[in-house]
C-alpha cells in the first residue's frame, strides 16, 4: 500500500520536514511548538528534506543528516520529543554562528536568567512553576544563543515534565500541571502554556543571570554567588552546537558570564527555588 507523504515547512529551515504514513504526528508537533509557522511546504521540490519521519510497522522511524542511522519510536509522543532534537539542530543551521546551550531560561524583570542543565536538576519543573507565577518562559531544555549580541533566543517549545511528578510538589503546581495538560505518555507530559506565558521561536533577550541548580534537601535553600570560572566551565559543557569554533565559544561564554549575575541555587522543592529567584530577579508578569 502506498503511504502518503506530507511536506511541511518550519520557520526558516533550509528544507521541508517530510512525514510519510504518519501525517497525524503533525497535530502533536503543532500542539507543542510556538512561533514555528508550520505550513505546507511550497519551496523548490529539488531541496533535500531536513528531517524525514516514516511510519514503518509499529514504529515512527526518523532520519536526518544529524543521525548516523535512522532511529525508531513506538510511541508518537516519544517520536515527537526526539524529533525536536533534530529540529533545533536544523534551526541552528539557519543562522551563522548560533550557539546552543542545554538548559532552561526564563525572563524576569532584570532580564533573561539561564539555568544550565545538570542531571535531574529539575529545570523543567522549575520552568513550569515560574510560568505559573507569571514569569515569561523562554525554554525548559535548550537555548540558542545568537551570534552578534549573544542574546538568548527562544526555541518555542512547550515545557515537558517527567512523570511521575515528585510527591513533595505543592498542590498549586499539581493543579496547574493538571489543568494545562498537553501531549503526554507514560513517561512525559507537556504543559500547555498560553502565548503570553512562553516566548515564541525567535524572541530574543539579553542574558542577565546564570544560575546553577543544585537540588539538595540536607541544607536550607539559598541563592549564593558563583565563581565565574565555575560558571564558564559549566556552560561550556552545556554547549552542543558544532557550528562555532571552540575558541569563539570560549570567548563568547566568558563574555556572557562577565555580563551576567552568577549564582548557585540550592533548593529542595521547586517552590523554594521559585521564591528565591523571584525575590532576586523580580517577576516580570505575563501580559
Amino acid at each position: 500500500m502506498n503511504k502518503r507523504s506530507i511536506y511541511l515547512s518550519f520557520a526558516d529551515l533550509r528544507g521541508p520536514v517530510v512525514l510519510t504514513g504518519c501525517a497525524d504526528l503533525s497535530g502533536i508537533i503543532g500542539q507543542l511548538l510556538r512561533g514555528w509557522n508550520i505550513a505546507p511546504y511550497e519551496g523548490p521540490h529539488d531541496v533535500e528534506p531536513v528531517i524525514c519521519i516514516e511510519k514503518i510497522g509499529t514504529q515512527f522511524v526518523r532520519s536526518s543528516r544529524w543521525l548516523d542511522q535512522p532511529v525508531g519510536f513506538e510511541d508518537p509522543v516519544d517520536a515527537v520529543c526526539d524529533f525536536f532534537v533534530d529540529l533545533i539542530k536544523a534551526y541552528l543551521d539557519t543562522a551563522t554562528g548560533m550557539m546552543c546551550l542545554h538548559g532552561a531560561a526564563a525572563r524576569f524583570n532584570d532580564g533573561l536568567v539561564i539555568f544550565p542543565s545538570t542531571y535531574r536538576s529539575g529545570k523543567s519543573t522549575l520552568s513550569v512553576e515560574l510560568a505559573r507565577r507569571g514569569v515569561h518562559i523562554f525554554s525548559d531544555d535548550v537555548l540558542p544563543i545568537e551570534n552578534n549580541r549573544n542574546f538568548g533566543v527562544a526555541p518555542g517549545i512547550l515545557p515537558r515534565l517527567r512523570r511521575p511528578i515528585p510527591d513533595q510538589t505543592g498542590s498549586a503546581f499539581l493543579n496547574f500541571a493538571k489543568s494545562r495538560l498537553s501531549a503526554a505518555n507514560e513517561r512525559y507530559q507537556y504543559i500547555d502554556l498560553h502565548n503570553h506565558e512562553i516566548a515564541p521561536l525567535g524572541e530574543t533577550a539579553p542574558i542577565s543571570g546564570i544560575v546553577l541548580l543544585e537540588r539538595d534537601d540536607t541544607f536550607a535553600p539559598e541563592l549564593r554567588h558563583a565563581k565565574e570560572s565555575d560558571i564558564v566551565k559549566n556552560i561550556i559543557l552545556r554547549n552542543f552546537s558544532k557550528n562555532v569554533a571552540a575558541a569563539d565559544v570560549l570567548d563568547r561564554l566568558i563574555e556572557i558570564s562577565w555580563q551576567a549575575d552568577t549564582h548557585i541555587l540550592r533548593y529542595a522543592t521547586v517552590e523554594q527555588a521559585a521564591d528565591l529567584l523571584c525575590e532576586r530577579f523580580g517577576v516580570r508578569m505575563s501580559a
Partner: protein, 88 residues
C-alpha cells in the same frame, strides 16, 4: 628535558582557572589551582624539577611527594595533548 607552551594555543584566564583551546582540533581544556599556576609558568621553558620547586613555593603546605606525582601526571597530560613542546 625542558618544556614550553606550544605555539598557537588560545589561553583565557577566568578567576584562578585557565582555559585552553587547541585551534587545530577545537579541543578545550581547563586547568585549576596548581595546574593553572604551572601552565602560566610554562610560558618560559621549565623542567619537572623546577615545576615541583615552583609549586612547593606557591603551595607551602602541600606534600612534596604528592606534588611530584601531580607534576609528572600533568606534564604527561600536556605532552599527550600537544599543549607543551620539548625545547631543543
Amino acid at each position: 628535558m625542558h618544556y614550553k607552551q606550544s605555539k598557537g594555543i588560545v589561553i583565557r584566564r577566568v578567576d584562578d582557572s585557565v582555559f585552553l583551546v587547541k585551534p587545530e582540533t577545537d579541543a578545550l581544556f581547563q586547568l585549576d589551582g596548581p595546574g593553572s599556576v604551572l601552565w602560566l609558568a610554562l610560558a618560559d621553558p621549565l623542567d619537572t624539577d623546577e615545576a615541583i620547586k615552583l609549586l612547593l613555593i606557591a603551595f607551602p603546605d602541600a606534600d612534596a611527594q604528592t606534588v611530584a606525582r601531580d607534576v609528572d601526571a600533568l606534564f604527561k597530560d600536556l605532552k599527550d595533548h600537544h599543549l607543551i613542546e620539548a625545547m631543543e
